[in-house]
Amino acid sequence: MLSFFKKPLLRGGVHAEEHKAETSALPIVSDFPLPKKLFIPLQQHVGKPAEPLIMVGDKVLKGQLLAYSQGLISAPVHAPSSGTIVDVNDYPAPHPSALPIRMIVLETDGKDEWIKTQTVDDPFQLSPEEISLRVGAAGIVGLGGATFPTAVKLNMGRENQVDTLIINGSECEPYLCCDDRLMQERADWIIDGVRLMLHGMETKHAVVAIEDNKPQAFAAMQAAAEAFPMIEVRQIPTRYPMGWDRQLIRYITGKEVPAGCRSSEVGVTIHNVGTAYAVHKAIRYGQPLLNRVVTVAGGAVKRPMNVEVPFGTLISELFDFCEVDLAETARIVMGGPMMGDSLPHTAVPTVKATSGILAMTQNELKSGEEQPCIRCASCVSVCPAGLRPLDMANNIRVNQLDAAVDLGLKDCISCGCCSYICPSNIPLVQYFKYASGEVVARQQAQHKSEQTKKLIEARNARMERIAQQQREEEQARLAAKAERERLKAEQEATV
């Protein structure tokens, strides 16, 4: 009876067509031909971009540090292969705008020669702080797509003494299977990474959460975790966006993370399975994060696959390898089809955040003219964050951005459920992203105008003060002159 009154653990969400069967049964392809040139962005993470410490013409080895992390929240970048640095310049970013950002261009020599790596015999003898340091030095960031530096998260977990580490294996986005395959094939290593993370955070309990549409991954992970009672592997319902960290935290622990707080403040830290695998490689073998498994799928892909590619590989090369029919491709999406962004062309590199590249045909896309909102409120019922997308969009359409903020614009997670379900084809997430950007821009503009006003006022005050001073000096001078003349007259009178 009591459970009836308990807060629901799941709210909103949609069940999109999965399209996972194309690649979920195929082994990870690890013989991707090494590209001639790698374009390695200095910013592949949340926070400050890394600062390059190589020069054009330098010879580098695989795994060598190319750019060091700058500031508290940042991550270093390493050479994905051996070769020569040929350029450090601006190239198109893997972003819908494809605006240029700073990248290191590495011409590979084909030898793929490793730098000497630092291995440890028993990593559990290392201090937790040392684990964080090594994870940070390996350039590991959240590989679920958020790309928050992992070391920072480990530290926050340790400092807040979190009691649960959640490993996110939900992979709720349609099409994507890279985490699924990783769990099926490399479960032991992922579990080792989880144990190292637990050690690094001084936490006693971990839950690996896997959606119930991945029974093989679940079985593999369960077998791998059997020997470790502190790691629990759990199946969770298949319902997008199950992998939203806060949804998962609520489902697993029953706790709700307050707005504006980090999950570690309620005693939970969440990491992706790919991140755990990267931690395993970094601590056990001293290997920095140089590549990742990327799902290449979509209707226009002749050979869909999960493929391990070095960072910096141009998407065009990936597409050649997977035999993508560009004539059939109506849209290129980086990430999953729910939250991913479309790319204008393929001359952009894969980065740490690239979980998938989709070449989608017209038939797969949601298309059609935008029609008026009929207030069906489907968007309200699917919103996992409890927002009212239709009201927010109505306000944004008439430029009432403050009203949209009051309705909860800043709590929107861009999961895409509202756009997915809308019968009127309204690109709601597009509205919200535009509005969020515009709100920030307006705040900056306002801040700027206030600063300008302050400066002008200060200048006016200063000029007024100077003028006042001059007037006073002038008066004093006149007074002195009068005094002098009076004295002179007195003297003359006495003479």
Partner: protein
């Protein structure tokens, strides 16, 4: 080639759902009750139905062209057809042609397009038109023909039906009468008691629709089945119909238990096609009902309460139209006060407290 950059943000895939599909599903759900009504009331009813729907489409096209919108593309969304259809269902089946035309004009022009078209209207267009017609033309709107099915010998033929539709009904008393609720209301004014009034009442007739009433609102069972199918299809939610019907049933049950000679039993209230039509098809109109589940429960309960009050104490025997319009006007208020709780925040939008462990 890459033709679709926009929108740059997801979702790039979508549920297989469009406005016109929703409208078609609703029409499909209305079809059994409509066909049954047309069979029961014959050719004049068919004339009225066709005239109402066609004029609704014509008015929509006219308004769209005045506003400089794409006429054909917008008509294809099916909303004008549905509005005309719903209006026709609530009209007396042998009403003259101009009732249908004026009604459609009111619904489309005053009820919908002056607000800015689909999705912008405050009131349910069909109900707005029906109420306006009822107030303006009380005779035509309360002339209820006897059930006279197609092809029966005493039913009007095709030629006669044109005369009924275009020049009005002659010898009204011979072929018309009162609806059940109307009859009860008049007889109450004669100080008769319910046990006496309802001697000839046929519950089965009302249940299947063999009774006097609006064109498509006679059959309780067909409308209810259509509505339940819509819920199963996930086109409408259960909240509004459930709370509406439950409220009517509870109130009627309460009063009937206290005084069964002056208050109609809940079964008779519920066994009415008009109530089913309102509960499943009118009150659930997306545009004019609240957005949240809780809001929809309040809205449905409010409709139910008003329907019961008007039916029981009001001047009109059937109050569904007025009830829905009144609650439509309360919808923005309901949406303002009843909103979902945002994740990580309390009901007032303040961030939650960090739990102390």
């Amino acid at each position: 080639m890459i033709v679709h950059m926009k929108p740059a943000s997801g979702a790039h895939v979508g549920a297989n759902n469009t406005v016109s599909r929703i409208m078609k599903q609703v029409m499909l759900a209305l079809t059994p009750a409509t066909v049954f009504g047309l069979l029961c009331f014959g050719w004049p009813a068919l004339n009225l139905f066709v005239i109402t729907v066609l004029s609704a489409v014509a008015f929509e096209a006219f308004c769209l062209s005045l506003r400089g919108r794409a006429v054909k593309a917008t008509l294809m969304d099916g909303s004008a057809v549905l509005t005309g259809w719903l209006l026709a269902m609530t009209l007396p089946p042998w009403a003259p042609w101009w009732i249908g035309v004026v009604g459609s004009g009111l619904a489309i022009v005053l009820g919908k397009q002056v607000y800015g078209g689909l999705g912008q209207n405050l009131f349910n267009p069909a109900m707005l038109a029906r109420v306006a017609l009822l107030i303006s033309f009380p005779i035509e709107m309360t002339t209820w023909p006897n059930v006279s099915p197609l092809f029966f010998s005493h039913s009007p033929g095709l030629i006669e039906s044109w005369r009924i539709t275009f020049s009005g009904l002659e010898n009204i008393d011979a072929s018309t009468g009162a609806t059940t609720l109307g009859f009860i209301k008049t007889e109450f004014s004669q100080n008769r008691l319910l046990s006496d009034i309802l001697k000839d009442y046929s519950g089965v007739g009302n249940f299947f629709g063999w009774t006097r009433g609006s064109l498509g609102e006679t059959s309780t069972v067909l409308l209810a089945l259509g509505g339940v199918w819509l819920i199963r299809q996930n086109i409408i939610q259960w909240q509004i119909p459930a709370s509406l019907l439950l409220t009517v049933a509870l109130l009627a049950g309460l009063f009937h238990a206290v005084d069964s000679e002056h208050y109609v039993s809940p079964l008779l209230h519920l066994n009415s096609g008009a109530l089913m039509c309102v509960a499943f098809f009118i009150a659930t109109d997306y545009v004019t009902s609240p957005n949240t589940s809780a809001g929809q429960l309040v809205f449905g309960a409010g409709c139910g309460l008003l329907i019961f009050v008007i039916r029981t104490w009001g001047a009109y025997p059937e109050g569904a139209g007025f009830a829905v319009l009144l609650m439509n006007s309360a919808t923005p208020l309901i949406d303002y006060y009843i909103r979902p709780r945002i994740y990580g925040r309390d009901r007032n939008g303040k961030p939650l407290e960090i739990p102390k462990s």
